[in-house]
Symmetry: C2
Subunit: 251 residues, 2 copies
DNA sequence: GCGATTTATTTACGAACGAAACCAATTGTG
DNA sequence: CACAATTGGTTTCGTTCGTAAATAAATCGC
């Protein structure tokens, strides 16, 4: 299946929440059989749900939804990031969609890694990989994003000190740094960063155009950014001036 | 749909892991259309999954699987237990299937309750009820049962002290008390009990016949047992002699 | 005890399904 | 350049799907 049709399908499904096979076949000028095959593959990737006659999107706000956007780019970023993790290392992972793919990649590579995370989605996402040990922080459960936050989660962090923390971002401003859009999640991520030697950000380049609400980190706090080649030059220049290791995977 | 056919379908699906509509219609002497309607309802309850042509059971060990056994009895037990919880109360809930239904009942009653649990399944199960606040303990994640266990989870308990704890059980022996079948889960449940004034057990009566491996609690530690009327008289006598409040819902 | 209503089931039918055979285009290899 | 192998797509076929209308059984009110 060509990637651009997959993207279009996801776009249409996301927009409509629910759309039937006939409509998709119509809009994309292919047969229904082809659409059905596409949908089966996308369902296998966990990007949507199929029902008899139509497809529907998983609860937005949910990671499954966010995963659907720029899936292939995120997958390549995650594959690259997985190389940064050593056998038997213990890492922290935040709740971003690209972070979830990183965890899955580590699972596929079949090297033993211990993961500490605030995301129950990620914990479940990697269920089938016995080489991954997962520790979850406790705290107030945000059911829409499937993460724990709040003072209890921060307190639980006291038990851990790791080499690397992997997070996503919701936005970036060349002058002021990285941003989040949920104050509780931003808060816990900042606390995680205090217990990690290296802060690594995984994000597709679209976030470098997007402004957001709450500043999470200034650029000089960040050790490595893994993104794709679509990042604006103004951003990449700032990052490198701030001493950030910038890794760009091919678009 | 008559309850007994529903039970038979679940039985057959559980035994076979996967069974097609034609076979079900054959064995239960009803039309395929009727089977399909039944399956749709059972899927809505979350007790199985439908695919094109057949039904399959959710990962055993998983709560969805255990929920499927004696569903109606468990629901009545949960409904009764829900009456024991006051508005704005904070309770602890362990990971049993009947406990999950209790949480859902509390959600439906639309009274505000704060729930502290070790079960990600329960946290997600009640996602749609805004009147429930859920706090999850942190710890090592057991992906098959979707709970957190271990020393970290026990340490997190230090922050909480509640009036009521609701748990399930895997077995009961009149002479020695209640039993579990997973040492890690039994361990964390015992720790939870130390931080709760009243220990309440929710279980269908089948468990009173079933022996299990690890003793969790002697009968006199238990405040209330909610079960159905199928409990052996020897057991009910012992419980009452031990000062347990025994509540039996109609079978 | 008996019509009225509800609930359970079946029959009938057009739409949707998965699997397999088939038909290009594209790619890689000698 | 030829010609296998791969990939993306369609057509066809027998089966399963959900819905609606028809029928049978159970329940209720009086």
């Amino acid at each position: 299946m060509p990637n651009d049709r997959a993207d279009k399908i996801l776009q249409l499904v996301n927009d409509a929440k629910k759309i039937d096979v006939t409509q998709l076949a119509d809009k994309l000028h292919v047969s229904k059989v082809t659409i059905r095959k596409d949908l089966t593959k996308l369902e296998d990737k966990g990007l949507l749900q199929r029902k008899h006659g139509f497809a529907l999107i998983n609860n937005p706000n949910n990671l499954s939804y966010r995963l659907a956007q720029n899936y292939d780019t995120k997958l390549r970023i995650a594959q690259r990031a997985a190389q940064m993790v050593a056998v038997d290392e213990t890492i922290m992972i935040e709740s971003g969609s690209t972070c979830a793919l990183l965890a899955a990649q580590l699972g596929k590579l079949d090297k033993h890694v211990t993961i500490i995370t605030i995301s129950y989605f990620i914990a479940n996402f990697v269920e089938r990989y016995p080489n991954l040990d997962v520790f979850l922080l406790g705290g107030k459960y945000q059911s829409d994003s499937q993460v724990v936050v709040g003072p209890m989660a921060k307190a639980a962090l006291a038990n851990f000190r790791v080499g690397q923390l992997f997070i996503g971002t919701d936005g970036f401003d060349p002058n002021t740094g990285f941003y989040g859009n949920d104050i509780m999640r931003t808060d816990i991520v900042q606390a995680m960063a205090q217990n990690a030697q290296a802060l690594n950000i995984l994000t597709d380049s679209s976030k470098f155009a997007a402004p957001s609400i709450i500043r999470s980190f200034t650029a000089d706090r960040v050790h490595t950014v893994v993104t794709d080649s679509g990042i604006p030059q103004a951003c990449s220049r700032v990052l490198q001036q701030s001493g950030v290791q910038l890794i760009q995977v091919d678009a």
